[in-house]
């Protein structure tokens, strides 16, 4: 089974995937695919280097499948790591403040309906978490947040960028 490498970013804990260009991405779709166990283990060694360089913590190998709609994690735990909580957890006001606009009246409901259908993982390729796109919202770091972060950790991003491009 195909594999990717995942970890949490040190500074904010956000889930990231080792990308094809040696950088870390928040999107599973950007992850580098390791077809075999041996290749994944080699990839993990590289990722562990990035852990030593304080970019990420706890890198692990994650099993994935690929179909027409792209990569998806095999286990429920990794699906949830990849796509965020399966519940409509954001207070509406917060989503609104982020400029995402108020959700349609029944979106929470739809979200939950989709969850109900989540079914057994490991069974037939399923429509897992299909209506969870609202969850991606936490992945986009706003400019303001990034600025605040830079103020707090002077030099951190420069190091990350340098490390990523090296």
């Amino acid at each position: 089974m195909a594999k990717v490498i995942s970890a949490n970013r040190l500074a904010d804990g956000i889930v990231v995937y080792a990308g094809r260009d040696g950088s870390w991405s928040e999107q599973l779709s950007q992850a580098k695919i390791f077809p075999s166990k041996a290749e994944a283990e080699a990839g993990l060694l590289v990722a562990q280097n990035d852990a030593k360089r304080n970019l990420v913590v706890e890198p692990v190998v994650v099993e994935v499948t690929e179909d027409a709609s792209g990569l998806r994690a095999v286990t429920l735990r990794e699906s949830i790591r990849a796509r965020g909580p399966t519940i409509d957890f954001l207070p509406r006001t917060w989503a609104f403040a982020r400029g995402e606009g108020p959700p349609p009246a029944n979106s929470a409901k739809q979200g939950r309906k989709a969850v109900l259908r989540i079914p057994r993982l490991g069974g037939a390729p399923s429509v897992i978490l299909e209506s969870m796109n609202f969850m991606r919202s936490h992945d986009e770091t706003t400019h303001q947040e990034q600025k605040r972060f830079d103020l707090k950790c002077p030099g951190y991003r420069t190091r990350v960028v340098a490390a990523e491009s090296s």
């Binding site: 040190l10 500074a11 804990g13 429920l76 519940i87 957890f89 207070p91 109900l116 993982l121």
Partner: protein, 552 residues
């Protein structure tokens, strides 16, 4: 309310400064993850599935409006606009950046809060009955003693590296609202034959993978000996608690293995040996702390009014709220209002920044500036004049906070589960939401009456499933979520651990299975006065098993 003195203030400020330095050293690479992990955990910072999680202590569940507003501010400024109240009177933020945590702790210190000892093998946040200092049935307010224990145990050098975590709860009324029998130590305030007030001491309760009910090891402990006796228990545990196996390291296992009588003898002997030491509490010290928790000077109010009576008669929703969410206060013209954080289909224990601010406003205006957090993951306005109830209800209703379901089937305790937690094996929240939607807020839930459903997403039992009247434990079975049902658990003074019904149910089946259990109860109960737990205790498991599994 307790206010920090100079010592508390500088102590917390010092810890924030230390942690700021530690985080800076981690981000710069001076500390690696292995070195840093214990340091962050000591400050309540966990790494969960999607992000860091910060757990903040709310000692004995008491908050001022100012503190709650600060939590709302933190939710908005540093998180995603909400927080999650836990089963141990803590609040968790699910999305803080590590780099922001020192600033968050600094904000908390401004309102006399912190995250110290919300993790690690130390004495954790000391919890108490959420109605403390207000309930009509109370013997004495448990919070001064919880505060004394908190001060004594904070960064106690001897007890900072215990075999495992250690949880203490104090309850002040005959009705146990603090689940003391499932704590490592439970102190129950009692009055002895001479009319003196002291504590009955329960030791060795706990949930997790080995649920055990605490043993009473002493009928009456004088108040002055609270610390000396706790110290004796801690010494025995620290020496003899198992450090070889994490799963057998809690004091409940020690009690189970050696027997309550043996532990009682050891504790009593240790206690006798050190009785003259400096740990005996002087009355002045108890009085000094008690002053902080003195009952507020409640203005004299009428016990009822024409407007209140009319509203109850004409508005069934209001009448239901009063009968379900309001309980008797020490002062007859006042009531204690529970604000349910369990809206139908909602996430148990989650509160948005707006809700927190709204509740803070209400507390300031109608409840002597006080809010409580219950281990059932609800908020409480402890001192509300009965004649203010219509206005309080209207204001809560306008924010979607007036769900009248306290103690009902939809007042579900649930841990964060696999939606957030790195330890979880299955999701809890979606199950809670579906059950809540199934039963709703109408006549049906009323008809079912008092029924506590508790859901945990793994064997660690943060969702207290062992002591739910109906407990649900989420497991992973061959790559799928599976849910085991237990029946007959209870966390109150009649504490019992639920029994497993049989094979587990899939995510698709579980809500129907719960409905079957509830239906079986309704079929067998002797009138609506017999609640679920009473009926289960009378008829036992067999009818439920039959209904769930037939003759399979």
């Amino acid at each position: 309310m307790y206010r920090y003195d100079e010592f508390d203030k500088s102590f917390v400020a010092e810890r924030v400064a230390q942690f700021r330095d530690q985080v800076a050293r981690r981000l710069s690479g001076e500390l690696d993850e292995e070195q840093f992990r214990p340091l962050r955990l000591m400050n309540g910072v966990y790494l969960q599935l999607h992000a860091y999680m910060l757990r903040i202590a709310i000692p004995y569940g008491t908050l001022s409006s100012r503190q709650l507003r600060k939590l709302a501010f933190i939710a908005r400024r540093y998180d995603k606009g909400y927080g999650h109240f836990t089963t141990r009177q803590n609040i968790q933020f699910n999305w803080p950046a590590l780099a922001d945590c020192p600033d968050i702790l600094n904000e908390l210190a401004e309102v006399e809060m912190h995250a110290i000892q919300t993790s690690g093998n130390c004495i954790r946040n000391v919890t108490a009955d959420q109605f403390a200092g207000a309930a009509a049935d109370e013997i004495e307010d448990p919070r001064p003693y919880a505060e004394i224990l908190r001060q004594w145990s904070s960064l106690h050098p001897e007890y900072s590296f215990l075999p495992r975590k250690f949880k203490i709860a104090v309850n002040g009324a005959a009705k146990d609202r603090a689940a003391i029998r499932v704590h490592d130590i439970g102190y129950q305030i009692v009055k002895n034959a001479e009319g003196e007030v002291g504590f009955a001491v329960y030791v060795g309760g706990g949930q997790g993978r080995t649920p055990l009910i605490a043993h009473k090891i002493r009928d009456f402990l004088p108040k002055a000996d609270l610390l000396a006796y706790t110290n004796a228990i801690m010494r025995i545990y620290n020496l003899e608690g198992r450090r070889d196996n994490k799963f057998k390291a809690r004091i409940k296992i020690l009690l189970h293995e050696k027997g309550a009588d043996a532990i009682r003898a050891e504790v009593e002997s240790e206690f006798a040996d050190q009785r003259d030491e400096a740990l005996t509490l002087p009355q002045e010290e108890i009085d000094r702390i008690r002053v902080y928790f003195a009952p507020p000077a409640l203005p004299a109010r009428a016990a009822s009014s024409i407007a209140l009576a009319r509203r109850k008669d004409s508005d069934p929703a209001f009448a239901r709220f009063v009968s379900q969410n309001v309980v008797a206060h020490k002062t007859p013209s006042y009531g204690i209002v529970t604000i349910s954080l369990k809206p139908i289909g909602g996430i148990p224990g989650d509160a948005s920044a707006e809700s927190m601010e709204k509740v803070a406003d209400l507390a300031e205006r109608f409840s002597q500036d006080e809010v409580r957090v219950s281990h059932e993951q609800n908020l409480v306005l402890p001192h509300v004049a009965l004649t203010d109830l219509p206005e309080v209800f209207d204001r809560l209703a306008s924010q979607g906070l007036a769900t009248a379901n306290t103690g009902l089937v939809t007042d579900i305790i649930a841990c964060p589960g696999l939606d957030y937690c790195g330890l979880a094996t299955a999701r809890s929240i979606p199950i809670a939401q579906r059950i809540s939607e199934r039963f709703g807020e109408g006549a049906r839930a009323q008809e079912i009456g008092e029924l506590k459903i508790n859901i945990s997403g793994c064997i660690n039992a943060c969702g207290h499933h062992h002591v739910g009247h109906i407990g649900i434990l989420g497991l992973e079975k061959a790559g799928s979520e599976a849910y085991q049902i237990t029946l007959g658990g209870s966390a109150d003074e009649t504490c019992s651990v639920g029994a497993i019904t049989g094979r587990s149910f899939s995510s698709d089946e579980i809500v129907d299975a719960i409905e079957t259990v509830v239906g079986t109860y309704l079929k067998f109960r002797v009138g609506s006065a017999e609640d679920f737990l009473a009926a289960y205790r009378r008829i036992g498991m067999a009818p439920f098993k039959e209904a769930l599994y037939g003759r399979e």
